[in-house]
Symmetry: C2
Subunit: 276 residues, 2 copies
């Protein structure tokens, strides 16, 4: 049996009661003091797959997560619920809880999701956003090579091979483009290949697109919805994030993810709070 990858360990949960599972967040996936929202989403999605496992609908098609409070390193209790099981899809709900300062349960994330079988979908691709022209991974900037002050406390970067198109990396040296777009490549350094759960992490793995708009500081996610549209092929993932609407203290951030065959495999949109 192959050793479990770092990512699979990070999102693993184990049944601990009826519709209840437990997992653990570690320091490794922190951005500042909060566990990366994509990792929390992948844990929630994976736990809900276990809940819905008997329904014949194994894969997340769409998941909407509401981030109620920052997730911290430590144990996580996961509650799952089957909302409806249909012929083609099943819908469930999942919540992640951690102990608060007095030991009281605090809900960190609640999500709704619809699952189906990616392998049962017809293979037609009628339209698909093309991946943008950009340099290959070897000609992009490793996120870990960014100036130390730009990535201090961004522990998650040590878990990823994340590379940023230099044309969209000016913000790291004080020259944001103002266009509101970041482009990058992602793979796992331990060779863990993409699957739907890695996609759920990938849609929130890029630096905040607000950086490219000249906004500094992390932008906490209020809500994130991801569509998984196909099972990704092995290899690099290509990610483009963009925003068209930074206003009123919030911004919308879209993420598109292509696999190594150039197929659009995930689309996500989040509403994030802009640091004051």
């Amino acid at each position: 049996m192959p050793e479990q990858s770092a990512f699979d360990r990070a999102i693993a949960t184990h049944e601990s009661g009826p519709h209840t599972r437990t997992g653990e967040f570690t320091d490794d996936w922190l951005i500042g003091h909060a566990v990366n929202g994509g990792v929390a989403l992948a844990m929630a999605g994976s736990a809900l797959a276990a809940e819905l496992g008997g329904t014949g609908h194994p894969d997340p098609f769409v998941i909407s997560a509401y981030y109620l409070a920052a997730s911290s390193p430590g144990p996580v209790t996961v509650h799952t619920e089957t909302v409806r099981t249909g012929r083609q899809v099943a819908t469930g709900e999942v919540s992640l809880w951690q102990d608060g300062p007095e030991g009281e349960p605090v809900q960190k994330v609640r999500a709704l999701a619809t699952y189906g079988s990616l392998d049962s979908l017809p293979d037609d691709v009628r339209t698909a956003a093309e991946p943008p022209p950009m340099p290959g991974p070897e000609d992009c900037t490793k996120a870990l090579d960014a100036p130390a002050e730009a990535i201090r406390g961004v522990n998650i970067l040590h878990q990823l091979d994340l590379r940023i198109d230099p044309a969209t990396a000016g913000w790291a040296v004080g020259r944001p483009s103002g266009r509101g777009q970041l482009r990058g490549w992602l793979r796992m350094p331990d060779g863990r290949e993409p699957d739907p759960y890695l996609l759920l992490m990938a849609v929130d793995a890029m630096p905040p697109v607000a950086f490219d708009l000249g906004v500094t500081g992390w932008a906490p996610t209020v809500e994130l919805t991801a569509h998984v549209r196909a099972r990704p092929a092995p290899g690099w993932l290509q990610i483009v994030t963009s925003s068209r609407n930074l206003a009123g203290g919030f911004l919308e951030e879209d993420a598109d993810v292509w696999d190594s065959t150039g197929r659009l495999v995930a689309q996500a949109r989040q509403l994030a709070r802009v640091p004051g």
Copy 2:
């Protein structure tokens, strides 16, 4: 007291127990045999506002609805729950239920949403997608003037003053552009001005963008998430819907809504099933 508008009557609910409200769907908002998903979303959002009313967070900022089964004309029972109340926002859950053929309760829609106060947001607009150049309402095609066979059973059109940019209306006469974009104008014929709930309906009021890709038949929504970004000004709403990914039997459909001052007031994305 002014007479209640048709739209307000359609989405009204009344408290009938703890965290329980009742409403009624009528024939007026049908598309084929199903009540329009935007009307169901607006009813859910309005009911959840009542649940969260005491929290000081009156307006929907983001709502994600999962459509479990088609909503039908008849009574609706609405269950609401406060998930978390914070200083700046509150998050809640809402579900719409109707009786099934044997009188058993059937869940039709479940949604999560975060509310806040639109009026308390700072007025900064750092980026904003501009409305596209298109003819004014007077030079667009009234949806009700479409060929009879194209709008048979689309009762909702009689409740709206919906006008389609002729450049994106070719599908109505068998000539879809293949670009996957529709542009239109919306206002309520009885003068009911836009507010956040009308925006929740507006993001699902246009014909399916799949029509412009040459796909006929209605595309049932699996999930729809809407961001309300500002309180809309009185007057026409300008709506653009688009899709970049029709594949595997599903399509993503994005909707952007601008108010009469040209401000982007709502953004929405849905995952819909493509008619086989």
